[in-house]
């Protein structure tokens, strides 16, 4: 992976301006697109608007405790969260991880360690079928979450943020039947769990974009009356 061309998006949430600046500069230099927030309120707004691929979250925020931010993000989706905190006691770590955080890094931390953990979290995003590089490959399809790059038979495919969110959920649970409700909650949040027509529209678009040509079936299979299944052997 060469730096400064990939585009996985990371939301950095910390009330310390110095940390926000240092992390922002560093992550951008390593090829991520970075958004920052200094309060929980701001973080949740950014999350809902931009659906970042990863959140780096400080627990001691001025308006809400970080653990509450984790719970609210988890109520809407599976976006990986790396906690960044000066709290180094075991109960704090347990509470954050149990609330839904994916990783916990104590301050002070080295830039290399944090980057490694960011890479690891993004690799897991590629699902169980990902190779050691963290790239999901199935049939004609290739998804690299770290670069936010999707290709079909080597041709780059342009996806809207929502389509990409949907694809991320599919590749995370390949070969599993996902109900409408599960998909709606994972991509749009709990408030939308009954808006199936949304889902059908987006699945139809995504299915079309992931097909190499009209003869190919594509990876998204419909399970009548239940939902969808993402196939890896099509």
């Amino acid at each position: 992976m060469s730096a400064r061309e990939a585009a996985a998006s990371i939301l950095v949430v910390d009330d310390e301006p110095a940390i926000r600046r240092a992390l922002g500069t560093n992550l951008r230099a390593h090829g991520f697109s970075v958004d920052t927030a200094s309060t929980a309120q701001e973080a949740l707004e950014r999350y809902e608007r931009a659906h970042p691929d990863l959140i780096v979250l400080d627990l001691g925020l001025p308006d809400l405790d970080g653990a509450e931010v984790i719970r609210r993000v988890r109520a809407q989706g599976t976006t990986p969260i790396i906690v960044l905190s000066v709290r180094d006691a075991e109960p704090d770590k347990v509470a954050a991880l149990d609330a839904g955080a994916d990783d916990y890094v104590t301050k002070p931390f080295g830039a290399d360690e944090l980057l490694a953990r960011v890479r690891a979290a993004l690799r897991r995003l590629a699902g169980p079928n990902a190779g050691p590089e963290g790239v999901f490959v199935a049939g004609d399809l290739r998804v690299d979450p770290r670069r936010r790059a999707v290709t079909v038979r080597g041709t780059p495919v342009h996806l809207t943020p929502t389509e990409y969110e949907l694809l991320k959920v599919f590749i995370r649970y390949p070969e599993r039947v996902l109900t409408d409700r599960m998909l709606l909650e994972a991509v749009w949040g709990r408030d939308y769990s009954s808006e199936s027509h949304y889902l059908h529209v987006y699945v139809a678009r995504l299915r079309k974009k992931l097909r190499a040509d009209d003869r190919s079936a594509g990876p998204i299979a419909t399970e009548p009356g239940v939902g969808y299944r993402f196939r890896t052997d099509y």
């Binding site: 310390e16 110095a18 240092a22 500069t25 230099a29 925020l61 000066v86 709290r87 830039a111």
Partner: protein
């Protein structure tokens, strides 16, 4: 009645029988046996109820004899003519003795009940008095209560040791106080469990034994009788109870003995409880101090780590070899590192100030300074740090006798605190006002303000009104307040009209 000498009581019984005999003698035509026996029985019952068991028996027999001598045919003879009269007489004797004994039992029980009630009341009083604080006053109240209850000349309680010191209290007049203090001239008695008697007799529990101090041997001119009861709990002696009576006093009754023994027990128990309570308080104080220290350490490490995180994140970024940093990026990291290192320095400076304040080694070096110039200095520096500040300051201010460095730091800390809370785009306002005998510097922001219940707390180390913000040092307000207080001034926080907080720094000014 119990106190009457035996002779008086037996005399009383005889007098009663004589009175009855005289009354019957006055009745014209003599009396019938039934009535006579009833009247004598009344005399026996009177003796039993008011004079005791022995006098009742005496009354029964003398009644029997008088009855026989004066009223049974042949009169004035011991012999009895009619066998039926003999039966009546013997039956009378039996009835008189038995009812006399029953009545005497009744009386003894009533007496006992009264004594028990009195003991219980006094003991209850002692327990109640001992619950009062402080202990010295409680002990005095108990000594006085015992003195009055037992009709003593004086009473004293001596505690061998409580919280490292002996404790002594005495109730009574001057003479009693003197004798209780130096009891060499009083005959000394101890009750079981007290001192080992010197005359070889062993002290049986609940009995007083006379002790002869060597200095007193052979002396007749004793000034009082001193009764000493040891206060013991288990094996441990905690002190003694001293009771002083005039040398003419008779012995304590057995009820009083019991009362004294029980009181001594209660006193020992109360002293032990007090000692345990004091020990518990001591360990509680230690525990709290320990807690405070732990909280402080925790907060310090937390607050030191925050700028350290930024410094380490910046430094490790710069050392990364996989990225070619541009000059602008490099400058950004270095700026962050320097800024946070300076912040760390301020935290350490404030920590040192706090430790100087806590250890009491704060010695302001006061000189005459112009407050307006000081405010300008501080504001200039804060603006350079990127905090927008607006100042209102009258042209003429009285010169103040202050330590420039300390007041400078206090004001800087207030402005920095306000800047930390002021929303972006709003100024921190500094308003200097001259009052009679004082100068006020008001530092205001449009932040969330300080809730009323946190207005004292915010000046404690590492306390924050919102509990979460971390951009300050956690010590700024503490240091500011202590510095200003060392100048005879103070800092308080108020709600600002239209939202926000106003910190008011007041310094005394001599005209």
């Amino acid at each position: 009645m119990q106190r009457w000498p035996a002779a008086a009581r037996y005399g009383g019984a005889l007098a009663g029988v004589a009175l009855v005999t005289a009354v019957i003698g006055q009745v014209p035509g003599g009396a019938r046996i039934a009535n006579v026996s009833m009247l004598y029985l009344a005399a026996v019952l009177f003796s039993a109820l008011y004079l005791g068991r022995g006098p009742a028996v005496l009354a029964a027999f003398t009644s029997f004899l008088s009855f026989n001598w004066f009223f049974v045919e042949p009169v004035h003879r011991v012999t009895v003519a009619d066998p039926a009269d003999l039966v009546s007489l013997l039956l009378f004797l039996l009835t008189a003795v038995v009812t006399g004994q029953l009545a005497a039992d009744q009386r003894a029980r009533a007496q006992q009940a009264r004594e028990r009630e009195r003991e219980a009341l006094v003991l209850y009083d002692i327990v109640r008095l001992m619950a009062e604080q402080p202990l010295a006053e409680a002990l005095h109240a108990v000594a006085d209560r015992l003195r009055r209850e037992l009709g003593l000349e004086g009473a004293a309680i001596e505690v061998d040791e409580l919280a490292g010191a002996p404790l002594r209290t005495a109730a009574g007049g001057d003479r009693a106080q003197r004798l209780l203090e130096q009891p060499a001239r009083a005959a000394r008695f101890v009750i079981g469990g007290g001192h080992t008697p010197t005359d070889g007799r062993s002290a049986t529990p609940g009995r007083w034994v006379r002790v002869m101090p060597p200095s007193q041997t052979g002396r007749r001119d004793v000034e009082g009788r001193l009764y000493v009861a040891a206060l013991t709990r288990g094996e441990r002696r905690r002190g003694q109870l001293l009771l002083l009576r005039p040398s003419s006093a008779t012995a304590f009754s057995s009820s009083e003995d019991r009362l004294i023994t029980a009181s001594a027990g209660q006193l020992a128990l109360a002293i032990e409880r007090e000692e345990l309570r004091r020990r518990a308080t001591e360990s509680e104080v230690l525990r709290r101090a320990d807690d405070a220290k732990r909280t402080l350490l925790h907060a310090v490490s937390h607050d030191l780590r925050t700028p350290l995180s930024s410094i380490i994140a910046g430094a490790t970024s710069l050392r990364q070899r996989d990225v070619e940093w541009s000059d602008r990026e490099r400058e950004e990291f270095l700026e962050g590192i320097e800024g946070e290192a300076r912040r760390l320095d301020r935290i350490v400076g404030n920590l040192l100030s706090v430790s100087r304040i806590e250890s009491g080694s704060l010695r302001p070096t006061k000189e005459w300074h112009d407050l307006g110039a000081l405010v300008d200095d501080v504001v200039e520096r804060e603006r350079a740090r990127g905090h927008p500040v607006r100042v209102t300051c009258p042209a003429a201010l009285p010169a103040l006798h202050i330590d420039y460095v300390e007041i400078d730091q206090a004001l800087s800390n207030l402005i920095e605190n306000a800047a930390g809370y002021a929303p972006a785009g709003t100024d921190v306002e500094v308003d200097v006002r001259s009052r009679t005998g004082a100068v006020e510097v008001r530092v205001s922001d449009r932040g969330p303000g300080v809730p009323a219940d946190a207005r004292d707390r915010v000046f404690e180390p590492f306390e924050r009104a919102d509990g979460g913000r971390r951009t300050g040092t956690g010590l700024g307000l503490t240091v500011a307040k202590r510095f200003v207080q060392a100048h005879g001034g103070d800092i308080r926080v108020e709600e600002r009209d239209g939202g926000g907080a106003t910190f008011v720094l007041t310094l005394p000014a001599s005209e």
